[in-house]
Every structure is written in structure tokens, then in C-alpha cells.
């Protein structure tokens, strides 16, 4: 028996346990990839995949020659980056604050309240955002007018320059509490003795956060960052779709909306598949580069 088979038989139970998930992955993640051949065809429904007309790279040519494509790429990357940076920063901040709260009641209630919006579907959440930002006595306009900062109500959602802000900050509101949970659990894994030792050495609260808590969650932080970078081309769909309007469409349309509008809705499945392939390839490149970068910096890596 060589080394490998021995190792296998030793971890038999573990391997068996993971088997269903591997099968699930193969069925739902790998087999559908065969549908990619569509991107090289002029696919019409109700006909077998192999008796379709082949068009080579025509779909990609159409995609890359659409002037809207580059605008949409910009919007997608920009909004995803904004969401990633703001979302991560605020999740860590909330986690640190909750971690530093001594009263158990305070921790629990802050945590529950902050992650509750995560469970609200965007359809509902978008309505809340619309109402908060309403120029017709919405709370935000009322507040700013009450403070004397603005004279007239602002049409927040109608101004292209504000749209990315609205996407970023509504994402923070909805997701930072939930994102904090993972960081919080990483913090509980930090050995309390380190904190005690720091106390004895006279470390103050901010110093404890700076030198113990943050380095303690660094590994989690990096792994999550790598995973999220892979999703940079998924800037979301419902959020933009539900909050957009004609006035801001040059800044609100993301990849998924474009695929829906010019692909799926027109039954141009091949076109949608081509756009999907582009997205996947870029995502794979991004995730590998992030991973390489992390490895080079001597950090935890994903792959």
C-alpha cells in the first residue's frame, strides 16, 4: 500500500461524508457548463442542442461591439467595488464594536437589529429605500430640511451622480450586520489569554483592538476578500433593477440587467450565454490573481 491509498483509507469516513456534496456540485455546477456550447450557436428553443446552427464567435463579436457593453462593465465593476469596500469595512467595524460591548443585552440587541435587514428581500427593501429618499416628505429630505442643510427636497434617485452612493449605502444598511457575524465568530476564536496578557502589560482598549482583535481576524478577512473578488462582476441584480429609473440608467445598468434585457427577454439565449462566459472567465482570472497576491504577501490563501 502506498502513502496515498493509506491516507484515503484513513480518511474514509470524511471522504464519504463529502461525497454527496461533490456529486451535488458536479450535477448543478459542472454539468450545466456543457450549455456553454450555446454561445457559439444561434440557439433556438425546442430543438436539440447539437442540431443548432453554429456561428462561431459571432455572439462575442456582437457583445464586444455594443457601445453599451463598456458602460455596463464600468457600472458593474464600480458598484461591486463600492459594495465590497464599504460592506467589508462596515462589517468589520460593527463586529469590533459589538465585540467591545460588555453588556450582554446590548450585544444581543445590537446584533439582532443590525442583521435583521439582511432577511428582508430587496423587493421590500427597495420600497423602504424609495420611501426614505422620497422627495415628497421622505424622512431624509425632511431631516436635511429640518437641519437647514437644503432648502428644497432633493430628488435623490433622479441624480446620476448619487446612484452609486445609494447602492453602496443601502448595501451597508442591509448587509453589514450579517457580514459582521463571521468576523464576530472569528473574534471569539482569539485566545482570551492574549487579551489578559495585554491588560497586564497595560494595553488600552484601542491598542487591544489594533494589536490583537484585527490581526486575529486577518485570515478570515483575506479569505472572504478573495471570495468576494471573484464576485466582482456580480454587482447584484435586484437592488439596481428595483432602484433604477430612466434618469440614472447610464449609471445603474449592470451586467445582469443587460443580459436580462438584451438576452433572455428577447430569447437570445446564445447571446446571454456568451455574456455569461465572459463574466465567468473574468471572475476566474480575478479570483486567481487575488489568491496569488495573498500568497505573495505571505497570507492565508483559498486555493
Amino acid at each position: 500500500m502506498n502513502e496515498l491509498t493509506k491516507k484515503f483509507s484513513r480518511q474514509r469516513t470524511l471522504l464519504l461524508m463529502s461525497l454527496p456534496f461533490v456529486i451535488h456540485l458536479i450535477i448543478f455546477r459542472y454539468i450545466p457548463i456543457t450549455g456553454w456550447v450555446m454561445a457559439f450557436q444561434d440557439y433556438k428553443p425546442a430543438r436539440p442542442l447539437l442540431s443548432q446552427r453554429w456561428v462561431g464567435l459571432e455572439q462575442f463579436r456582437i457583445l464586444f461591439s455594443d457601445p453599451a457593453f463598456y458602460r455596463i462593465l464600468r457600472n458593474t465593476l464600480a458598484m461591486a467595488a463600492i459594495k465590497l469596500i464599504l460592506g467589508t469595512a462596515f462589517s468589520v467595524l460593527v463586529a469590533v464594536l459589538i465585540n467591545e460591548t460588555k453588556s450582554k443585552w446590548g450585544r444581543k440587541s445590537v446584533q439582532t437589529i443590525s442583521y435583521l435587514p439582511h432577511f428582508v428581500a430587496w423587493v421590500v427593501a427597495a420600497n423602504i429605500v424609495l420611501n426614505v429618499l422620497s422627495p415628497d416628505s421622505g424622512p431624509l429630505n425632511n431631516l436635511l430640511m429640518g437641519l437647514g442643510l437644503i432648502k428644497e427636497p432633493v430628488l435623490w434617485l433622479g441624480e446620476p451622480g448619487y446612484f452609486w452612493h445609494i447602492i453602496g449605502w443601502s448595501h451597508v444598511w442591509k448587509e453589514c450586520g450579517f457580514g459582521a457575524i463571521i468576523y464576530l465568530s472569528a473574534m471569539t476564536a482569539i485566545d482570551p489569554q492574549i487579551y489578559e496578557a495585554a491588560d497586564i502589560d497595560g494595553a488600552r482598549r484601542l491598542q487591544r483592538i489594533r494589536y490583537i482583535t484585527l490581526p486575529g481576524i486577518k485570515a478570515t478577512f483575506i479569505i472572504l476578500l478573495i471570495m468576494n473578488i471573484g464576485h466582482l462582476l456580480d454587482a447584484g441584480f435586484e437592488q439596481q433593477y428595483l432602484l433604477q429609473n430612466g434618469l440614472v440608467q447610464d449609471y445603474s445598468e449592470v451586467f445582469t440587467i443587460y443580459i436580462l434585457k438584451y438576452g433572455m427577454k428577447m430569447m437570445r439565449y446564445s447571446y446571454a450565454a456568451a455574456a455569461g462566459i465572459f463574466k465567468s472567465v473574468v471572475s476566474i482570472i480575478l479570483i486567481f490573481s487575488a489568491n496569488r497576491l495573498a500568497a505573495r504577501m505571505g497570507e492565508e490563501t483559498l486555493i
Binding site: P45, A46, A126, N127, L130, N131, L133, S134, P135, D136, S137, P153, L155, L157, G158, L242, N245, G246, L247, Q249, D250, K261, Y262, M266, M267, R268, Y271
Partner: protein, 547 residues
């Protein structure tokens, strides 16, 4: 213990299933059954039967087994086609063309000829419109226009709050200028309502509901709801033109722009969704808006319950120098209907069933119910209901859950609600003028009386029946993914961006925004394909009608 329980439960469950199946067979014993797929999410047909359904069952010896839509229609139709297994009858609503393209439907014309005398009588010349390119009739649409067309409420128009009309003594309004002027004067006089600011005029830009703004250049120049463009008689030929880049479009949006600059056009229009729009209308603060009647039915009903002054009257305002034509002729839905599928074993039975439905007597029962219990007949032969009957039918669910008539009208071959029987009675009780008037609230009667009319529709002109041979454009479906569909989507994108910008334009900048808008439109190389598509559609329909 737990395992035992599970086993017992499973045994019980399978027994239940077996018995359920057994029961079904027994019930249909001696009776034919026809299976339907209806592409519409509806509750299951009442299991205890209904008066209308039982009547049809008893007289045809056929039990209808309905399957209604669960989930998304487009997907469901795709899956059905891929599986190759169909119920006897399919109706794929706005995706019905996919069934035809996939060869799921069988030709009906010979069957109708042989077994459908009542179908022929009801559809009349309309049957000619149903021949597709391959020379066959593939489906029978519902809501057939037949007999005298009687409407009590208009399709669409400018809505104005009753208190505005009352304030100025119920003036007759014919132009957009007069309409906006009333709003201007009223808002100046009453800047607040119920402690909140008055909203002069609102619109809806949300998703496909933006027709409330986008269709304006067409309707204010005296065109019915073609939606996609204007159709005019030019040198004796119905000619299609696009209306979004015309001088009239520039004019009507400049009037909106004037309202905006005066603070009377609700800025929230540009960003609000349908819920917010309805909520705002229901608050009673809004003096006017443009919409199609069905879209604001709920709002109107609520307002009428609440306050006698806050609901809206629909009026036909157009630009100076044009004659209004808000109502289009009642037209057959030529894009969808019921088809017999290739899986059907006995197509003759199905056609005979449809023929029974199309019989005038059956249609009366579907439209009104049974004489004596659901309606009465006066000396002149006019149908009416008494207070008790009206109360029963006032519940919108009554015709579905109790009477069952809804299941044999919606999506089934039969008459439209504005169609009339040979004796002059209207199919839909809500469109029978005397019945309509009797059900009105006093506040509504006051307004009608002030204008000296009996129904809301009398404010509007009768539709131009010459249009009937092509109307309406919007039922024309572009081939998915075609060059014209892509061009049309691009035009929509540009309009979605620039129409709000035009309305919001600052003093003195309207012309430059308009120039920019036209420049953007001109960048869409093949937008003429859209016009050509609709022109071809009109030509084909006219040719079919001439058969």
C-alpha cells in the same frame, strides 16, 4: 417508534393517493373529460362544482379538467414543449406563438367548418383574421367583439379630480391647455389638502407602466391606444409612423415641462414605483394624471368609498386643433387563444364543446347567470338585477368561486364584455347602460347629470370603425431577438432617459435637450426596421381582412 410512525404515515398517504385516483375515475365515469392548460395563475376550479360549470357539464357530457399556471409562463410553455406531452387544449397567453412555432397545435378550420355552426356565427368575419402564414387557423381567441359594442367606461384619458370640476362648475374640457389650466388655478387656490401639499399632476415612469408618459404624443394627437406608433390614413392607405420624435411630441412634453417649472408636475413621478403611485393617488392630494382605466380601478373604488369629492373623472383632452380618438374599435385578440394539441385523442369532441360554449344561450348564462336567480327581464326584454343580486355579484370573487362563470369566459372562446346579444342585451352586465347607471353612487350620478350624460364613455367619441381592420398595433409580436426588437429596445432605452430630462429641463434649455435626444435617437442605425415591422403587420392584417 419514530420509524414505525413514518411507515404508518407513508402507508396512509399512499392509500389516500390511491383512493383519490379511484374517486376521480368514478366521477368521470360515463363522461368524457377534456384537459386544459391555461397560462394564467388562477385558483383551482371549485371542487364542489358551480351552477354554470354544472350546466355546461350536464349539457355537453364533458368534464373540463383545468390546469392553471404555477410559476412563470414562459418557462412553463418551454418545458411543456420540451417534454412533448400536452393536455388536450393549450392556451399559452402571450407566449402562445411558441406552441404554434413548435408544431404543437392542430389546424382548426376544417373542424370548425364541420362541427362549429355556433363558432362560425359568433366569430363571423373575424375568423379570417385568424389564418396564420401557413394558411391554417391554430387557435380561437376569447373576448370576441360581436353585435353592438356597448361601453360605459372609456379605455384611457386624462383623469381629473371631481372637486376640481365641481369648483369650476363642471366645465367641458377638450384641450390639454384647458385641462392644465384648471389644475393650475385649483392648485393656486388650494395649495394644501388634509394638511399636506397639493400635487398638481403625476405620472408613472416605472417599468412597462411608463406608457402613461410614453404614449402621450400618440393619444393627444387623436390616435387610439396603438401603443407602438401612429397609424393614419394617408392617400387611402393605413400608414404607420413613429410618434416619439415628432413636433407634436416636442409640444406635449414642453407642456409637461411648463407644469414642472411651475412646481405642478410631481417630481417623484420619475422615481416612484406603482405602489407609491397608487398610494399617492389614494391620498387624494393629486389633482390629475393620465392613465388607462384598468390601471387605477382599485384607487377609484377606494376613493369613492372614502369621500365623495376625491375620485377622478376621465376626460378626453388633446392638443389644439386635433379631434380626440381615445377609444379604439373593439378588436379580436389575434395573438393568443385556445388550441387543440397534437396529444388530443378526440379533437371533434373538443370543437363540439367549444361550439356549445359559443352558443348564444350559453353565453347569456356565462355573462349574466340564470334568469330568475341571477337576473330579471323587464317588459322591453332588457336584463337587470335587483338589489340582492347586485350585492351578490358586487363581490369580485363571486363569479369565480361561487358562480364559476369566470372559468368559462376568461381565456375560453366566447364574447367580450362590451359585446351584445342579438336581443340588444350586453354580455357584460357592467357594460349594460341601465344596469351600470343603477349601480352608481349618488356622487357619480351628480357629475354625470351635470354633464347631461348617462355613462362616462359618453364624454368620448365613438371609435373609428374603419380602423378595425388593423387595430391595435400592440398585439403585433416581433420575433424574439430580431434586429427590429433590438432596435426597439434601444429606442425605449433612449426615451426612458430623455423623456424625464425633457420634462425636467430648466428654463431655456428645453430646445437643447430635445436636440440631444434626437441626436441620440439618430445613433440607432436600424430604427426604421421598427416602423417597417408595424407597417408590414398592418398590411398583412388588412390583406387578411379582405379575404
Amino acid at each position: 417508534m419514530k420509524r414505525k410512525m413514518t411507515v404508518i404515515l407513508m402507508v396512509l398517504l399512499s392509500c389516500a393517493l390511491a383512493f383519490a385516483n379511484g374517486g376521480k375515475e368514478e366521477k368521470t365515469g360515463g363522461m368524457k373529460s377534456i384537459s386544459f392548460f391555461m397560462g394564467h395563475p388562477l385558483e383551482d376550479y371549485p371542487s364542489g362544482g358551480t351552477p354554470v360549470g354544472d350546466y355546461i357539464e350536464k349539457n355537453t357530457g364533458v368534464k373540463a379538467e383545468f390546469e392553471f399556471l404555477v410559476g412563470e409562463l414562459e418557462q412553463k410553455v418551454g418545458i411543456m414543449i420540451a417534454s412533448g406531452d400536452f393536455p388536450d387544449v393549450v392556451n399559452g397567453r402571450n407566449f402562445h406563438q411558441k406552441f404554434i412555432d413548435a408544431g404543437v397545435t392542430i389546424p382548426l378550420e376544417d373542424l370548425i367548418d364541420q362541427y362549429g355552426p355556433n363558432i362560425k356565427k359568433l366569430y363571423g368575419d373575424n375568423l379570417n383574421l385568424l389564418y396564420k402564414d401557413d394558411g391554417h387557423i391554430h387557435f380561437l381567441p376569447a373576448f370576441v367583439p360581436a353585435g353592438k359594442i356597448s361601453r360605459t367606461t372609456p379605455d384611457q384619458g386624462f383623469f381629473i379630480q371631481k372637486r376640481v370640476l365641481k369648483e369650476f362648475g363642471y366645465p367641458k374640457i377638450t384641450t390639454v391647455d384647458e385641462y392644465f389650466d384648471l389644475i393650475r388655478r385649483y392648485a393656486a387656490k388650494y395649495p394644501e389638502v388634509k394638511g399636506r401639499s397639493t400635487v398638481g399632476f403625476t405620472s408613472l415612469f416605472y417599468s412597462w407602466r411608463n406608457y402613461t408618459v410614453m404614449n402621450m404624443p400618440g393619444v393627444v394627437t387623436g390616435h387610439p391606444n396603438d401603443g407602438s406608433g401612429n397609424v393614419d390614413l394617408v392617400n387611402g392607405k393605413w400608414t404607420v409612423s413613429m410618434f416619439y420624435d415628432t413636433p407634436e411630441a416636442k409640444l406635449i412634453y414642453s407642456k409637461y415641462n411648463e407644469m414642472y417649472k411651475d412646481g405642478l408636475f410631481d417630481p417623484e413621478s420619475f422615481v416612484a414605483d406603482y405602489d407609491q403611485y397608487q398610494a399617492k393617488l389614494t391620498s387624494g392630494r393629486v389633482l390629475g394624471f393620465f392613465d388607462q382605466g384598468w390601471s387605477v380601478n382599485d384607487v377609484q373604488n377606494l376613493l369613492k368609498e372614502e369621500n365623495e369629492d376625491y375620485w377622478y373623472v376621465c376626460i378626453p383632452a388633446v392638443l389644439d386643433g386635433y379631434t380626440e380618438e381615445y377609444n379604439g374599435p373593439a378588436a379580436l385578440q389575434t395573438d393568443q387563444g385556445v388550441s387543440i394539441s397534437v396529444s388530443c385523442k378526440d379533437p371533434v369532441a373538443v370543437i363540439k364543446y367549444f361550439d356549445f360554449l359559443c352558443r348564444e344561450e350559453t353565453q347569456k348564462i356565462i355573462g349574466w347567470g340564470f334568469e330568475g336567480t341571477d337576473y330579471l327581464v323587464d317588459d322591453q326584454g332588457l336584463f337587470y338585477r335587483n338589489a340582492e343580486m347586485r350585492a351578490r355579484f358586487a363581490d369580485p370573487d363571486y363569479n369565480k368561486k361561487v358562480q364559476g362563470a369566470y372559468y368559462f369566459n376568461y381565456m375560453m372562446p366566447g364574447m367580450g364584455s362590451t359585446s351584445s346579444f342579438a336581443d340588444g342585451n350586453v354580455f357584460g352586465p357592467e357594460n349594460q347602460p341601465s344596469e351600470f347607471y343603477a349601480k352608481l353612487k349618488d356622487a357619480e350620478k351628480d357629475v354625470l347629470d351635470s354633464y347631461g350624460i348617462q355613462t362616462w364613455n359618453e364624454m368620448f367619441r365613438a371609435p373609428d370603425m374603419d380602423r378595425a381592420i388593423y387595430y391595435p398595433l400592440w398585439t403585433g409580436k416581433m420575433t424574439s431577438g430580431s434586429a427590429e426588437e433590438i432596435a426597439s429596445q434601444k429606442v425605449t432605452d433612449v426615451r426612458n432617459k430623455y423623456t424625464p430630462l425633457l420634462i425636467m429641463a430648466d428654463e431655456g434649455t428645453y430646445d437643447s435637450v430635445w436636440k440631444e435626444y434626437i441626436a441620440e435617437l439618430n445613433k440607432i442605425a436600424d430604427r426604421d426596421l421598427v416602423t417597417k415591422f408595424y407597417q408590414d403587420l398592418v398590411d398583412t392584417r388588412i390583406a387578411a381582412a379582405g379575404k
